[in-house]
Amino acid sequence: MILLIQYTLIFAAILSLVALGGCFSEHSGVINLGLEGVMVMGALGGALTMKALGSAPSAVVVIVTILVAALSGLVYTLLLAFACINLKADQTLVGTALNILATAAATVIVKAINMAEDSSNVSSTVVYTKANHALTTKIGGFSFNWFVAVAILALIAAYVILYKTRFGLRLMACGENPQAADSVGINVFKMRWCGVLISGVLGGIGGIAYITAGVSQWKFETGVAGWGFLALAVMIFGQWKPLNIGLAALLFGFFRALSSVYSGIGWLASMKIPSTIYVMLPYIISLIVLAFTSKNSRAPKAEGIPYDKSTR
């Protein structure tokens, strides 16, 4: 049971971090469909950092890894921001391109590093066993993952920023009616850059959290298995509101956790349902949930539309 809670929390943390990223970006008016790729890049930066840090003190590992992962995500979303905001490119296309590029680029980079260390090693796997234990701390029998704390902080911060600060009010105005924002002197481009870069930071942290959850090495050819998209589903189910996103993430996280631990829960294991069914669950649930809720969902009105001063 403890294991179920533990897993639910870490998976929910990953989903809420990335979904909050999407939330900031979309509130500014830019659809960040490239979150999947941003996660891969965050994961890559984080994994390489952890490999390099080895057995450094825990606090150093946690902080430096998170910072590097966040920075990797941020740098990667510069591409999206520049293409979609300044060049007014189609946001769906750019996002998709970033997703395709990320996994391929990460694979190439890791292979090159591995081959430089040992010319016969062409695997795309990064091993970070030594540093991985630093990411969790034991509280009694409960293994607490620091990313859960980061996610909770991010949720609270997102709520306060969006609803209680000047920045949030202006950000959301840009996603709802950029012409209105512009007419009261708000720099729409600047706000959209902020929204997109925040999504890069959160997506990057979500990426390293994802690949370190329970394993101590990662094969970058697999990317992040659609979790960027799952996070977008969480964001939509959460109606672009931080607290709802947290709850939605818990729901999805729970089903994902079930697939990891069901064999340890007597009555579930005795039902002899193939394990693949459990693995499919979060994805199936997201399909069902979106099919029923997306009709009533209220996305930021101006999202997906490049802002052009001259249109009336």
């Binding site: 306060v160 105005a173 709802e176 009261v184 002197g185």
Partner: protein, 510 residues
């Protein structure tokens, strides 16, 4: 205050590709006056105001505030100079509250957290002082257009602006709301605010303004004092010739029945009841039948049912002897032309070129299509002809993107398209809404010419004057029913008003 002018725009010239929007325009606004800016659609009023508000930069000329030259590069500069603007299309965030919209851009914060209490107090005080009733916690999407406009006005007052620009503020309001707005503007003037009032409605200008500057095709025609002028003179200055404010026409010669509607019922998409309830009427060749009524009494749904935009729940529609009750739109449009109520939604594809919009009802015909491919040269020459005949003005001729055209010219494009194809019935829904007197005159003439050529015309209008002037027969709609049939020559606007308000009704012969 040595200088009598609050703001001066001197010799302003602003060019766009293919068009000079403002050509050497001078406008001087005195302290504490209401100054009207009059001009046809596309005369350059909105452009001039956008220059003043810093949305566009003029190529030539200068702006002076209290006699000193100033540069306005963006709305922030304008705001710093105390210039505020209520845009024609409101600049409000739909899902924000009234209060949030007012403070947006000039928020006060403490330790980074928004402080709304003081803002609320200030807004309530302003709302009290000027009679601007708003609910600060209501969301914009839930409130009336009138209250949205009051929010826009409060936005300016909250920023302590003393030069207020109103860009065609009455176009979207009901008659009562227009009354209220006129009063509000007078109150603002009393408090020492200087107001620029952009409009093409002569009666409103006569009622509220002190002076009036007239623009025509981007050029400044002159500035007159309202006390020394009249509607006729203003309209002559605006259009450049004498305008018939009342359409002239010969008596109608109704022919055979073209449209016959029996017992038609149309469901409403806003409420559970039917929007149109068992309505029966006929329209004959060579007559203009006008459906009058206050907005929202089922006229829109009546037209939707007739034109096929919404399914008919009950009843029968016959057009030229064919039952079209369930016919698809393209089949109906073979004999029916339709000038829709919402020209931007149902009339045009805004991001298509003018020429493509002009063949929208005909592009599949052999004249414009060969073997599945469009015949671009045929389309171009057809569009050129319509643009000439209907005097559709635009920046780049047939290749102009329709979104960039003025409202009046968009409407002319629809009229050209609908009138230039074969039809026995013309359904025209509020064809003159939001247009200036010159364009209204043009459209009324077209409607009467249609009638004289033997077309059956069904006109849906909210304007009493238009109803009385243009129609040969009036049907009054009230709460989804036809409550009276009147002869415009034998009735008065007062009687018509009583029918429209539901105070009076004829018991039909059913």
């Amino acid at each position: 205050m040595g200088n009598p002018y609050a703001i001066e725009m001197v010799h302003i010239t602003k060019r766009f590709p293919g068009i000079i929007a403002n050509d050497d325009v001078t406008l001087q606004l005195r302290h504490g006056e209401i100054h009207a800016l009059l001009g046809e659609n596309g005369a350059g009023k909105s452009t001039l105001m956008s220059v003043l508000f810093g949305l566009y930069q003029a190529e030539e000329g200068e702006i002076r505030k209290d006699g000193r030259k100033v540069t306005i590069n963006n709305p922030n500069d304008a705001n710093d100079l105390g210039i505020g603007m209520v845009h024609q299309h409101f600049k409000l965030v739909q899902c924000f509250t009234v209060l949030d919209n007012i403070i947006l851009g000039v928020e006060t914060t403490k330790h980074g957290i928004l402080q709304k209490d003081e803002a609320r107090k200030k807004v309530m005080a302003l709302s009290e002082k000027y009679g601007l009733k708003v609910d600060p916690d209501a969301k914009i999407e839930d409130i009336t257009v009138g209250m949205q406009q009051r929010t826009e006005i409060l936005k300016m007052l909250y920023r302590d602006n003393d030069i207020l620009i109103f860009d065609e503020p009455t176009a979207v309001l009901t008659p009562q709301e227009i009354e209220e707005l006129m009063q509000i503007m007078k109150n603002l003037k009393k408090e020492g605010k200087s107001i620029l009032f952009i409009s093409h409605k002569l009666n409103e200008i006569m009622e509220v303004a002190d002076r009036c500057t007239v623009l025509r095709r981007g050029k400044c025609v002159g500035t007159v004092s309202i006390a020394d002028t009249n509607e006729q003179e203003l309209s002559r200055m605006m259009v450049g010739r004498d305008v018939q404010l009342v359409a002239r026409k010969a008596p109608a010669k109704p022919g055979e029945t073209v449209l016959d509607v029996r017992d038609m019922t149309v469901a409403s998409n806003r409420h559970k009841n039917n929007a149109v309830k068992h309505v029966s009427f006929a329209v004959h060749a060579g007559e203009i039948v006008c459906v009058a009524g206050i907005d929202g009494n089922g006229q829109t749904e009546l037209v939707y049912g007739l034109t096929g935009l919404a399914p008919v729940a009950d009843g029968k529609i016959t057009l030229c002897g064919h039952d079209i009750t369930r016919a698809p739109i393209r089949k109906r449009s073979a004999e029916m032309s339709h000038i829709p109520e919402d020209r931007q939604k149902h009339g045009l594809v805004l991001d298509y070129s003018l020429e493509d919009n002009l063949v929208l009802q005909r592009y599949w015909q052999p004249e414009f299509t060969k073997g599945g491919f469009l015949r671009r040269s045929a389309i171009r020459s057809y569009a050129d002809r319509l643009i000439r005949e209907y005097d559709i003005r635009s920046g780049q001729g047939p290749a102009t993107i329709v979104r960039s055209m003025s409202g009046g010219n968009q409407q002319k494009a629809i009229i050209a398209r609908e009138l230039d194809r074969d039809h026995k019935l013309l359904v025209a829904v509020q064809p003159t809404r939001g247009l200036d007197v010159g364009a209204i005159e043009f459209i009324h003439k077209q409607l009467i010419a249609e009638r004289d050529a033997g077309t059956a015309v069904l006109l849906i209008s909210l304007e009493l004057e238009e109803v009385m002037n243009v129609s040969d027969r009036i049907l009054v709609m009230y709460e989804g029913e036809i409550v009276g049939e009147l002869d415009p020559k034998k009735t008065t606007t007062e009687e018509l008003g009583l029918y429209m308000a539901g105070a009076k009704r004829q018991e039909a012969e059913r």
